[in-house]
Subunit: 367 residues, 2 copies
Amino acid sequence: MDEKRKAPKLRDTATVVPLPRKPGAALTITDVAEFAGVSKKTVSRVLNREPMKAATRAKVEAAIETLGFVPNVQARALAFRKNFVIVLFIHDSTSPMAMKFQRGVLSAIADSELALAVRPVDRESPDLLADIETFLGRQKPMGAIFLPPLSERDDIGEMCQRLNVRYVRVGSAPLDMMSRSVWSNDRDVVTAVVRDIVARGHRRIGFVRGPSGFRSAREREAGFRQALQAAGLPVDEALMVDGHYSFESGVSAGAALLDAPHPPTVIFASNDSMAAGVTRAAHQRGLSLPRDLSIVGFDDNPVAQQIWPSLTTVHWPIAEMGALAARKLVPDMLLGAGEDAADLPSMVESTIIPRESLGDAKQGKSE
Amino acid sequence: MDEKRKAPKLRDTATVVPLPRKPGAALTITDVAEFAGVSKKTVSRVLNREPMKAATRAKVEAAIETLGFVPNVQARALAFRKNFVIVLFIHDSTSPMAMKFQRGVLSAIADSELALAVRPVDRESPDLLADIETFLGRQKPMGAIFLPPLSERDDIGEMCQRLNVRYVRVGSAPLDMMSRSVWSNDRDVVTAVVRDIVARGHRRIGFVRGPSGFRSAREREAGFRQALQAAGLPVDEALMVDGHYSFESGVSAGAALLDAPHPPTVIFASNDSMAAGVTRAAHQRGLSLPRDLSIVGFDDNPVAQQIWPSLTTVHWPIAEMGALAARKLVPDMLLGAGEDAADLPSMVESTIIPRESLGDAKQGKSE
DNA sequence: TTGTAGGCGTTATCAC
DNA sequence: GTGATAACGCCTACAA
């Protein structure tokens, strides 16, 4: 009785007017199949772009079009044992970079079936791995993206492989296999920036470090040292102070450098928040910028444009990295016909953004 | 044959050692049911907190615990026709507020089964409604949250009701039924701020508007006018200029006000980005802040602390609003045993954050 | 209060 | 290349 219930109903309507089997309910592949005169499985094959006869495909696609059929994501998720979701794991922080990255991911998946889920986790927590595993186990996402400093942990990558979850690790250096990495050339671009600084006559260059344990901090410091060496300048450890990527730590670092007996003429901070802090420390001391002190940052945060003077900085192409990470993660869903995942780059170039905060060294002060 | 296949297998193992029916597969409620000696439906009832005998519940919960069973979200989603997801619709912008709000939502759902999906949409697009409808139709979320300016459109709310999707509209004034609204008291707090400004001796108060069509902009302007009226001050339309909530529009607005023949001694900008722009315009003109000009903003963005001088502003409790919105949206999942959705507030108080940018009016300049 | 049968919309298996 | 039938893991309706 049940088996026969639908068929008659359908024959009355669907062959003429596209109507769902039940009033109020959405269309299913069964409707499409009947309308196109094929089996459910054939419709499924079209949805999943499996190889088939062109004519059949065209027929089904026409049916989908005229019926306005939209596949049910939940049902596919159940059958696939995968959710149509990308998870972005971020270390719980107020980082504007995480948001920029997120925007990049969203732009890449905007027209796809995919959704982005954001999951903040605490890298200090002893339950970090368990938290991530639970979330992945629940959501069964198509892929996961890890931002620094989470991305720097190899054990997270290994866990994903064990759980059979695709992932991409994002950072300031290659952290995993090419297909699982997106990174920026922090070291090289910092070297280039410092070269510019030296070319402007500066000899005493202060450096504010990022937090220890962050790969980005190490890379940027390495680039700094490399540039000094290349320029034949000594590395003065007294001009290198610690920071934690926070505005407040930038204020402290700036204070330490500026109150020293022989302060630098320019300070490079390993990110913009700290550069803004250094700027504040300079203002507090009545310095005129960039006349008395030049400041250079890294990130190209919104704040870089909004402080006075506006900050010469490195544009960290984090949004592009987000889009790239998404495309590497699910190439079959996000890449067009002609594109090939193997052609996707893994490294994205940072660029120097000249603004107001970097000036020439004063005559008397250089050297 | 098929029906019997599982049972014998299970009886051998599950009663002694908790093992999934198939090697490598996850446990299902069937496993839990057999282990606890009840039916699948009973386990389902426990998962959904339906009323049942305490002893049975305890037995099943013990089984879930010892087996480490985690329900399959996709299967539940398919059966419920609802995904365990909250969607946050944001107008595509670089707003730091959207991210703060997001953090609030995430904190509220952190320990639940729910995930947060973020969906940027373009409020200018003619397809706005269709875009949202498509996304809701695909994801079938447990609820949707709309941030300004999307939240100000009644048609979006009506569409959600038609689609049977719960929603919350967030804004600077009540926009919908209490149970579907979360808002802040923008008007009142601006009135209070302006009262403070007047108390400091200022009489010529500049005002930078938000974009027309934004409810928040109207509310903040209304609060401003109200305060002037209450103080017995005239409203000088020449001191009120337009802005778009952007840094650049703040620079232009600041320039317009400061280059006028008789400039104000203090400028209130309707958000912090514009206040930062006004600050820049003042710096460019060589003004000393707050001696020559006081500036007050609204939002308490990160930039408010990082510019020089730091910005006296209104703390817009957007993260709290995010957490509140989530809890109102799915109270049965996010509220504790003793809590009641009816007790949740709808309005969140903004507070004034005194920093450096607001000073007393100079003797000669006041009036 | 608990259990049984059937369905949610899709994909996988394995014939044809 | 295409189709019938059985999963996928849970919930709803209804029966006991």
